[in-house]
Each structure stands twice: as C-alpha cells, then as structure tokens.
Amino acid sequence: MDQTLDIDQILREKQKNHHVTIKKLDLENHPVHVIYIPAITDTKQVQDAILLPLQEWNHKESPLPHAFSAEPLLQLEKKNDIDRYLLDGYTLLFEQKTVYAVDTSRFAYRSIQEPVSEMTLRGSRDGFIESLEQNVALLRVHLRTTDLKFEEFTVGTRSFTNISIAYVDHSVNEELLKDVRARINAVQEDYIPDGGVMEQLLEKNNYSLFPEIQETERPTKVSSALVEGKVAIFVEGSPSVLLAPTTLNSLFQQADDYNFKWIPASLIRLLRFMAAFLSVMLPSVYISLISYHHGLIPTDLAISIAKTREGVPIPSFMEALIMQLTIETLREAGIRLPKPIGPAVSIVGAIVLGEAAVTAGIVSPLMVIVVSFAAICSFTIADYALSLALRTISFVMLFAAAFLGIYGLILAVFVVSIHLIHLQSFSVPYLEPFAPFYVKRWKDSLIRFKLKKGGGRIE
C-alpha cells in the first residue's frame, strides 16, 4: 500500500511542531530539506556527518547517498516510516521525491547502575537501563556468542515502542520462538510505557496471581536464561527485561546460588523455599491452631498462648488480619516514601505500632511474632511479582483458616496447588520439575547440585 509521498504536505505538517527543526539547503537550486528533532538528536553529528558533506556534494555529479561515506543511508518509502524514524532520532533528508534517513539519535539515558530491586553479594553489578541499544550491548558483554540472535519488533498504535527478542540459536525451542513472536505481533495497544505492561499483554492467564514471565534487571540473569534456552524480551525504555518461559522454580533462583559453593548455596535455597512456604502458611496455621485445634498445641505453649491472649478484645482472626494489613501498609509506605524518610516508617511501624499495641493489650505478643516473622520470610522472595502473589494467597489462607481451621487450610492449599499444576508459561508447566516430575532436573531446584566440571553446564 505504497502511497506517493507528498513532501510538501509533510513539510507543512512538521513545521507546525516547534520541536522539529527543518533546514532548507539550497544547493545550487537543488533544494534538500534536513529534518530532525533536536531533543533526541546529536546535533554535532548532524553538523559533521550531514550538513558538511551535503555542502560539498554536487547533485549533478553523483546521487545523494554517495555524499555520505560513513553513515548508512536508508531510503524511506512510507509515510509511517518517516514518522517512526524521526521519532527514533534519525535525521531525514528530503531530496525532491526521495526521503533518506541517517541515524543521529542521542536519547537522554541514565548511566549503568546496580539494579536496586535485585541485590546480590557476588557477581556482576551492572544493570539494564532504559536504552534498548545499551541493554543489548550489556548482554553482549556477558554472552559472547554468534549464536545470540536478535529480532526486532515494533508495537504500539499511537506511540511506537521498539521491542527486541533475544535467544541463543540451537538452545532455544522453535515452538517457543514462534509462540513469542505470535504473542508480540498480537499486541494491539496504544502505548506501552514499560516492560511490566508488556509482560501482562503477553501473558495468557490473566486471572492467575503468579507471574507467567519473569522480569529482571540483571544482564547475567538474562544471559544464563538464554543459555538455558529461554527467550528474552527487551522493551525500549524499560530497564526490566522479560524472560519466558518461567517456572516457579526459576523464580526462586538467585545469581548468588551459583557464585558460592554448592552445599551452602543449596542450604540457602532450601531456606528460601521454606521461608516462602512459611510466609504464606504461618499466620493462617497459627490462627487455625488457636481458634480450632487447641489440642494440637503442646500444653505448655497452649497455656502461655492463652495467657498472652487473655484480655485481647478482638478475635484472633481479626487480630491477624489487622496485623497483616498493617504490615502491608508499612511495606507500601516504605516503597513510596522518598529514600531519606524511608527509615522513619520502619521505626514508627516496628516500635510505635508493634510495641504500643502489645503494651496496650490490643494485640497479643505472639501474634506480633508470628506476623512479623511471616513478613520477614516474605522478604526473602526476591521476585517482587511472586512476592505479591504469595502475599495475596496468604490472605486467602487466613480467611480459609478462620472459616474452617486446618480443614479450610487444606482446601485452600488444594485450590492453589491445582491452579499451579494447571498453570503453564509458554507451554511449560509452571511447577516443572516437581510436577511433572523430572528427577534429573531436581539438581537445580530445591537444591543447587555441584557444577559439572569439564564441559558441562547446569541443566
């Protein structure tokens, strides 16, 4: 659907926008228009690489592309392309009926920093930034193979967003690649502000709490995922790179697990799984024990719990709910507050609220211990999307425990397990390697078995 480009009309249109610079060069009665957006353009480069060569160019001797030796010159044919390249920071040259584009982009980016949301003790400290090009460069630092392939996509109907998928040839599954391509092409959205939005647009289980796509800001995490055969999706303007497919197991893995010796690393990983389990179950188990199954608590503990609860005016379920909500509020406040005020929240939260509530006899000290320990457990879950999912489930568990005690808890665990077993991320079972059961792949699941020496890689 090639429409002939009406240069004059385009020029008139662009002139309305004050941020677009249009320079008309009258080269011996052969007019050439140079159009660019100064805000996203390296103006020095425009000067050196475009305006200077143009001045020396003679239109009678050679066609325009010959004037540029260093920069690749693209010839544009569609009106859509003109807008896109202009917005990508290209400088456009209008010569009679032809339009050329030269890459002169210089967007404003921050420098490479350590990702704030994913901390490690050992290992590379670089993190992705908002530039797609820089991110690809970063990945290339960590993964130097010719098998690393990229594919470019553009999505967004109102504002263009460049998307790049990366994979390692021979490792990646063709079916998975097809699936990813199809899902990206199917996105019909006006505007994609960030990777998180893209993640949701690519996901299939919209009612699931669990993230179907993992998100990371660490190049090493991406590189090792790619080697494993995953696909990475880079979104222009977002420091978070999406990894697909994702399993529950992979959400618990941390770079540190591989950077330390395998026995302590395995123990820490086990600890992480246990902490995640406790963060979901501990308050609800406590509730069901003290409000239904008193006989299951050792006598001495039962008596001391009864003693601490003496005089507490609210039922234990309400108590737990209030405490959990308080902790969630504190957590949210901690994220939103500017960094210098952040610690104030924890002081107010921990000392004033917790301590005062106990001394006032509104909540029992044991409940404070249980709820805050569960909160600390949930801090060990590094993936925020997973942490959100588990926190939501812990509330469901709380209600189930309050309704039916252990019986209700077991029902709720059933529901969650059925959902997890049913869940798939890009046709990969979410609970793999636990269900379906692949013993061989357990080497890197609950534990991290020793690295295979002599040409092996971690499966």
Binding site: S291, H294, T299, A302, A306, E310
Partner: protein, 382 residues
C-alpha cells in the same frame, strides 16, 4: 462445563459450612487434670476438674505469685458426663480435655464401681486422648489436686511428670494410659494402676493399685518396696539402681547403677502343669562403694558383687510372685500373656481356669548381673 461447577462448588465448601466450632484459645477452659471420687453422703460420683487460669501464671516481670494458677471445680452427679456439663454452671469457660495430662481416681471409687464402667466416658468420647495416664490414690483426691507442686504450676502435670522418672528409679511404676486400660479390660486381665500418695503436703509416687479382672475392682495395694520386682517381671527396667546392703555383701554397702536389663520368658508345659522361667539379664556399673578393701584392678573383683546382686534381684522378684500367688491369688503381673504366646494350645484349653492355675504355678528366676565398669576413679590401688 465442569469448571463452571467446580469453582462455585469450592466456594460453597467454604461459605456454607461456616465457622461453627471456632473457639478462641483464651475462651477455652484448658483442663490439665481430673480427679474421680465418690460422694459417699449422697451416694454419687464426684469429679474434680483442674482448670488452668492463664492469667495467674507468673511472668518474669511480676514474679510475685498471689495464688495458684489453677482452679479445681469439684462437683457430684450420677454420671461423669452430667458433671462435665454441670461445670458450665460454675465456670464460664467450657472444659476442654485435649490437654488432659492425668486422671487421678480414688481407690474407694474403684472399690465401689467397676473399672470398665468408670472409664467408659473416657474411651467413648472423642475429646479424651487415649494417651492420658491414670493414677489411683488412697488419699483424698481433692487434697492431692490442691497441692502446690513448687516446680510445676499444676499438681496434675506434676503427677504425670513423676512417672517420667521411671527410668531413674525402679520403685516408680510406669505409666498406664486410658488406652492401655481399655485394652487390658477387654482382654479380661488383672492389672496395676500406678499409685500416688500425699506425703507431707507433697505428691509422691507410691506403689500401685491392683485391679482384679473378673470383678474389675480395686482389691489391694502393692507397696513401693515391691515395685522393683514388678518392673523386672514386666520387663520395663531401663535404668535405676540396685542397693546391696551389708547382709548380702560383707564389704558394703554398695550401690549399682543399672544400665540396662532384659527379662526373657520361657514357658514349659509338663503334663498339665505350666512352668515359667524368668531369665533376667542386667548390666550394671559400680556407682557407689562404701566398702574399704576392694581393689578393682584385681581380677575377679566383681564376682562377689555380681553374685550378691543376683541374689537381691531374685529375692525381689520372688517376693512379688509370692504376693501375687499367695496373698492375692491374682495374676496382676500379666504372666498369662507369655503362656498365651508360648503355649497357645494349652492357653486355649485352660484360659477359663487361669485364676485357679496361676496360684499353683511354678516359677523359676534366673538372674545374671554383669558389672561392666567401676567408674572414673578408685581408691585402694596399692
């Protein structure tokens, strides 16, 4: 569309059932101990429930103890269940028996009522655990449950903890739970219930009470001195000590610490006469020696002590056997179990007449004591 049914179904499982038996732990009357007695004036049963009063348990901050952290509610009625429900007339917190640690009954109750009837509620009701131990006393039950155990908070828990020392002292009977009791009763066996006394205001373990099979009633008391023999025959000796006085050993007295003991039972039927041999093998350590001349570095120093120990154990066992065969003529030692196992054919024929056979049965006691160690140091090494 099964999925459209499953989800509402799961939701209904939660919502429709509701939380009918929710009961906050502080609203529950936790009962740690129970006393059973007879109200002789009104010819009724008496039940004492020992409630925990959590608020009165002293904390570290306020160590001054005003009063005991329990409340005993003693009531009388025709059935125990009725009394339990009558408790709600006096206590706002309904009793919960999941933490019941001990049941203490009076011998008068078991003299008056059959044991199988007394424990009926406790094995029928689902809230009672089958692992709750039972004790009998000749002293007033309420007095025992009202003592101040000093180290524990609750007399009922003190009673149970005492029997946990049974591997330190063989005079201490081992636990008999409600479950054991119901098993022995349905097997039509006589048995022993550990005894408790009130000794100068303190709870003390003291011997055991005999419950006879047929009448299912209390018939007599085994004194604390005879408990050791019972423990050897029951093959429950795990530790404890052996005291050898100067009568059995010249250069004494001596205390031996028992490290382990095993009793083997051999049954033989010659003609129509069953005969049983107890082979007791005990491993001991020289714990305390008041003798002067003993040199443990001389070969054969143990011989004399081992022989004396054999004699002492044999005497203890034989004394209990005499008590059972002659004084009570009741097989409360449960030796019939071994006859049943070793000579099933004989047992089948004579099961009915066991109470007549037992008093005339021949028992042999063979004891082998071994001293394995003399401790860390020894005087008299010259």
């Amino acid at each position: 569309m099964p999925r459209k049914i499953i989800f509402p179904g799961l939701v209904m499982l939660f919502v429709l059932t509701g939380c009918w038996d929710i009961k906050e732990i502080e609203d529950v009357g936790i009962i740690t101990g129970m006393g059973l007695d007879v109200d002789e004036e009104n010819d009724e049963l008496t039940m004492i429930n020992q409630y925990v009063v959590p608020g009165k348990i002293p904390t570290q901050q306020s160590s001054s103890q005003q009063s005991v952290p329990y409340q005993n509610i003693s009531q009388s009625g025709k059935t125990f269940f009725e009394i339990i429900r009558d408790n709600s007339l006096e206590s706002n917190r309904p009793p919960n028996y999941t933490h019941l640690k001990s049941i203490l009954a009076s011998t008068t109750l078991f003299e008056k009522e059959r044991a199988d009837k007394v424990i009926d509620l406790f094995i029928r009701d689902h809230e009672f655990r089958r692992t709750t131990p039972v004790y009998l006393t000749r002293d007033p039950v309420l007095d025992i449950l009202s003592t101040d155990p000093a180290k524990e908070f609750f007399p009922s828990i003190q009673i149970k903890s005492l029997s946990e020392n049974s591997n330190k002292n063989n005079k201490n009977p081992t636990n008999l739970t409600i479950g054991d009791m119901s098993q022995l009763i349905s097997e039509m066996k006589s048995f022993l219930i550990p005894g408790i006394t009130l000794n100068e205001g303190k709870i003390k373990s003291s011997g055991a009470a005999i419950i006879e099979a047929e009448s299912s009633k209390y018939v007599g008391w085994i004194d604390i001195e005879d408990m050791e023999g019972v423990r050897y025959i029951h093959n429950t000796v795990q530790g404890g000590f052996l005291y050898l006085d100067e009568e059995v050993i010249d250069d004494g007295p001596i205390a031996l610490e028992i490290k382990g003991s095993k009793t083997k039972f051999k049954t033989k039927v010659s003609g129509d006469e069953p005969e049983m041999t107890f082979q007791i093998k005990t491993s001991t350590v020289l714990a305390e020696d008041w003798g002067t001349g003993r040199n443990v570095y001389n070969k054969g120093w143990k011989k004399e002590i081992e022989d004396a120990a054999n004699k002492v154990i044999q005497e203890k066992v034989e004394r209990v056997l005499k008590l059972a065969q002659q004084e009570y003529q009741i097989d409360f030692l449960n030796v019939s179990k071994w006859v049943h196992i070793h000579e099933p054919r004989y047992w089948k024929e004579h099961e009915k007449e066991w109470s007549e056979i037992f008093p005339d049965m021949t028992f042999k006691v063979e004891v082998t004591t071994e001293i394995t160690d003399f401790g860390t140091q020894n005087f008299n090494t010259e």
